[in-house]
């Protein structure tokens, strides 16, 4: 018999990744740290941001980086130069990190140190403005970077990333005097898509804007630490 049948599944395609992300998250909560997923198109300034923030914050917090750079270990080396533990994540040729890859990175990290001693765990995602936004890795906050050289229409063309972000950093603002872009317009486009996100303008070259951004980080860490954990890892 070959009866035609139909199963109604109503199944979310990302459910498996979501489950793994929740597992990672339970670890982060048990370790009492803040995990940030840092995303942008290639070259928007993720590693430069990390270099400056790690240097400024390392006397105050204990931190580590999971590095998702897909082609080279260059980014990892730039950060290791600051004395911060960096674990390169093997992505194969994937264009984004997913929760399983980050889980693999966590295993390596635990061979180096006890994550419970960390305050902040940074995840530098693969440079890509499209799909990293769809794949949670267990982070507490998503940070999206947009450099002023990318033009002001990016938030409208790649809205999902900006919708999902808890914080958007408009980077390379030191270049504004040389560019025909209106940073107010960039900010308006971001807020149309996501009125709740925090937005900061900064320059990793001059250091402009980092105080406000670091203030936001302080707030997120205390928010995460004052939230009672319901799940155990």
């Amino acid at each position: 018999m070959h009866m035609p049948l139909e199963d109604n599944l109503g199944l979310n395609l990302l459910a498996a990744n979501q489950h793994r992300a929740e597992h990672n998250r339970a670890h982060f909560d048990a370790w009492n740290l803040l995990c940030l997923n840092v995303m942008s198109s290639p070259g928007a300034g993720k590693t430069s941001l990390l270099e400056r923030s790690l240097a400024a914050l390392s006397s105050r917090w204990s931190m580590a980086v999971l590095e998702g750079d897909m082609t080279t270990q260059l980014d990892a080396r730039r950060l290791e130069a600051l004395g911060i533990p960096v674990v390169p994540i093997t992505t194969g040729r994937a264009c984004h990190l997913d929760a399983a890859m980050v889980s693999g990175g966590l295993k390596l990290l635990r061979q180096q140190l006890d994550p419970a001693e960390l305050d902040v765990l940074w995840v530098e995602n693969v440079g890509n403005l499209v799909c990293p936004a769809e794949f949670a890795v267990g982070e507490h906050r998503k940070v999206a970077l947009l450099s002023v050289t990318e033009g002001d229409d990016k938030p409208l063309k790649y809205p999902v990333m900006f919708r999902e972000a808890d914080c958007v950093l408009i980077t390379k603002v030191d270049l504004l005097p040389h560019l025909p872009v209106d940073v107010e317009r960039i900010e308006d486009h971001i807020r149309q898509v996501n009125p709740r996100t925090a937005v900061f303008r900064l320059s990793a070259s001059s250091g402009e804007g980092f105080e406000a951004w670091h203030g936001w980080l302080v707030d997120q860490l205390s928010a995460v630490r004052s939230t009672p954990t319901l799940v155990s890892a």
């Binding site: 070959h2 035609p4 109604n8 599944l9 395609l13 063309k157 149309q192 898509v193 009125p195």
Partner: protein, 124 residues
């Protein structure tokens, strides 16, 4: 490239679904997928990737049918729903309010699978 990843997610889900029918292997005619327009997935691209991925597998010949789901926002000032057009932005046309609430458009969901099952394998 993300269509490749989405196809992998889809195959994972389908393989899990197949397990429910073990030891029989259902013959799948159609997989009906809902894809919101406010996601990173290009339906046409996904259909091509799918056709490539299932060739030679137990899903060979299964058609992927994609039902696009419109992005609908709700204006929190006047409660009207609207469908944003990326060209003109995401504010509500009624009150120029930013897109606070998304009613639909984020779906990436297998709605249903149409298939037939061979008779149980006779034992002994």
């Amino acid at each position: 490239m993300h269509e490749v990843d989405m196809t992998r997610c889809l195959l994972l889900s389908m393989n899990e679904w197949k397990q429910q029918h073990a030891p029989r292997v259902p013959r799948v005619d159609r997989v009906h997928l809902q894809v919101g327009t406010f996601t990173c997935v290009e339906p046409d691209q996904l259909v091509l990737t799918w056709a490539d991925a299932v060739r030679g597998s137990w899903l060979e010949g299964a058609e992927l049918v994609i039902e696009p789901v419109q992005l609908i926002g709700r204006c929190l000032r006047c409660q009207a729903t609207y469908s944003p057009d990326p060209e003109s932005g995401y504010r509500s046309p009624c009150c120029r309010h930013p897109m606070e609430e998304i009613v639909s458009g984020r779906e990436l969901r297998i709605r249903s699978v149409a298939y037939s099952c061979p008779s149980p394998i006779p034992v002994g």
